[in-house]
């Protein structure tokens, strides 16, 4: 199933006095010297970020951390009510929802951009072709459209601005701009590049492969879920959510309760 390679790891080693992580001395070169974001980038990308990459990576983590009473936040709050002893379980319940609904759109956008980048054809042609194929298949085109934020998601221009100020090449921003034009033309209306789409763009600009984008969302969302746990402990709303849903969603099974 998997390639037969000798078992080994390059991540970390330790002896009585020293701990190495990704070729750095943890105590003398990392703790107190680098931020969480630098350490996370180092671990994930196996090199320290430039100042610009750091700005982009932080902007993505900040954008994705918190979105209010999402399905994930509700799941986490209901869990901490039922199992107050398990913070890790409550966070994990919320993280299970970081699936194709949420991050699929990031991954889908990133893959589309990659395909356009590698195509031999003229960029306008391939963009129109992609937009048309989504429209025909009646699937949502990943990274475009938003239920509330209309006409445009306010996070998107901010993320692009930060990336450009940070000195990225801008090639993915250029491609997505072309793709956006094609989408509006094919769909016959304006669909905003949403925050998840924009994140796929700026992470691509700093070399993050699409297949770890989901994990980045998991990490920062876990911080947001911990904030919900703390609020839930101080001001519980899960009991309300539970009893309210029970009352609001009627039972419509064929057999009714016996008359008393």
């Amino acid at each position: 199933m998997a390639k037969k390679l000798p078992p080994e790891t390059k991540i970390s080693t330790t002896n009585e006095e020293q701990i190495l992580v990704r070729n750095k001395d943890l105590v003398h070169e990392l703790i107190g010297k680098v931020s969480f974001t630098e350490m996370f980038f180092l671990h994930l990308m196996q090199r320290m970020p430039s100042e610009g990459e750091l700005a982009v990576f932080d902007s993505v983590l900040v954008t994705l951390m918190e979105h209010g009473l999402t399905p994930s936040a509700i799941a986490t709050r209901l869990t901490i009510m039922s199992a107050p002893e398990s913070v890790q379980g409550a966070i994990s319940a919320g993280l299970q929802g970081i699936g194709s609904g949420l991050v699929g759109t990031m991954e889908g956008m990133a893959k589309n951009l990659q395909d356009i980048m590698e195509a031999d054809e003229r960029i306008e042609a391939i963009c129109l072709q992609i937009a048309t194929s989504y429209k025909k298949s009646k699937q949502a085109i990943p990274g475009f459209g938003h239920p509330f934020h209309k006409p445009d998601d306010p996070r998107t221009p901010r993320l692009f601005e930060i990336a450009l100020n940070a000195g990225v090449k801008g090639q993915y921003i250029e491609i997505v701009t072309q793709l956006s034009k094609a989408v509006d033309e094919v769909y016959g209306k304006h669909l905003t590049i949403n925050a998840k789409g924009a994140i796929a763009v700026v992470l691509s600009e700093i070399g993050v492969p699409w297949d770890v984008m989901r994990g980045i969302a998991v990490v920062t969302r876990s911080a947001g879920l911990l904030g919900h746990i703390r609020e839930e402990r101080e001001h519980p709303i899960a009991p309300f959510i539970y009893s309210h849903i029970e009352k609001t969603v009627p039972y419509t099974g064929e057999r009714k309760l016996d008359e008393k």
Copy 2:
């Protein structure tokens, strides 16, 4: 079970053009302006950190992110082999182990420090009393001792140095120093203040309550686990772990396989 309070949340709200998180405008005051660590602190503590608090919080996140092939990392790697489509599931499998074994010692240390802080007695007396009571009960005293790092955990002085440089009051560092003397006296040998103990100390210095410390470990460890997922994809060792354990752990059930 829970207090009857009106259902409400103070975390986040949004309209077409604006997103507020913890009383800040996400687009104009957070994205591109604050780091992940500032945003995480803001969310958890409901206020922006001072420069010193930020330094301490970052040092804790950096210290806890990665510890090599831990039980958590092994669980994550085995899971991404079996369910390659679910990064959130693989991270979550590893996070389940952030339980009383790991973070219990942080929480236990933080609670002991709190008790000492609030006691009316002389500090030497209460420290001796706590150390004696753990020794008698034959339980490990939380935050002390380390299997490899002897005589001292190298992370501990570094964390204290960062905290003191960052301008914390130093009252918990003082208490733990007293407690450490009492521990050495009562146990009749030197037990290092380990990294988890030191983290409990410095987080207490910046006002983080003990009952969210576990969650902080969950957040930063999830970043470490994503690093393991990326290495596992590029150089899989889970197949080796699985087959090696199967070969190394003998079956000793009463009934044996039929002779062929």
Copy 3:
């Protein structure tokens, strides 16, 4: 930390033609010969159940499988909406809530019964003492009381009846009857033995230790959660739950959205 024992397992082994599980040949002695419940009991208790034990074990599994739109079921449904590709993740999100709130009461009842069983004192005295101590501490007494099912939980007499018909000794039923009298006397009103309390009683009758009762709830509840996943797919209510909660729980943070 853990006892140093040679690594070994007695659960299962296999060769090209044969698979042994708990000293039985899987193909020839288990598949097609035993039910899920017999196999589960065999695995957990390391012996085949008697007919009576089987009846009791099945009655417990059937009682615990499904309880309607519980917090667990809501968490599972919100998760399958967000991550439709991960049935295991959605079930796991729901299982995280099988914590001290739900199964703590089973475990607490089972431990109280055990303490009474092993006490040297007269049973009436120890029962009064336990009830009094819970009343004083203002904690709920585990296994007693129910928010809806008044005056009595209808599942309890049924579970006791099945156990007695199945030929259990009835010693735990006797003890809980005494404890119930003491509870009513001490609290000055009738508190029903609830279903979780009754399950602790009947599982104790067939020798199941308290520390696996939580796991038994996890197993059978996972079947219930799969039923919710199937209904959610055919008739989704998670989108309603999400949008309804968002609308019903007001944002009451200090800072308000900008006037437009």
Copy 4:
């Protein structure tokens, strides 16, 4: 995103004296009257199983429950060591691996059988076409082949025998027999129908849709994992697994620890 249907549930309702689950009275018609397997089938399929369906469903649950020290079992054992207080977390860690590696093959087989069933072409032709297309794409053909059990998986004929004795129509068994011939012809060697393939066949025979098969594996495997938790508590091997893997998997990072 999802169809707009009125929020409702047909699963369960309750009042003070009665609990209905899937149109049955829990206390009077289910507890003590039906087995776990009947209750699970009822919940999932919304009808009681026939005697034959029950036999097939039980045989599948028994087959899938336990497979020794699998990646899932190792993840569960490592987790219960690190978080001994959370049985639900340890089971959940193991369940995360019930992903495309394991159950994907069940789902893939079930979908292939469905496609063959619905095709207009002659069955031999379509079987050859499917086998050829997998061979060309160099993907494993789902439900065929086994690393140990050669030439044939002993569970497969047993599962087919039980299904045929139980009176199923046998149409999927017929199709898989044809597909198996095609596979052997196209691959130029014998590939056994493995247990997961056989389970897809017999579950299809009793009308279970492919998209809940993964969930059925989750439910029964959770029982197996609880058995591992109990063995791990009585005879811990997780500390050995952890320290052994740490010793056996070398660190090969570029930077080495300082010479002392």
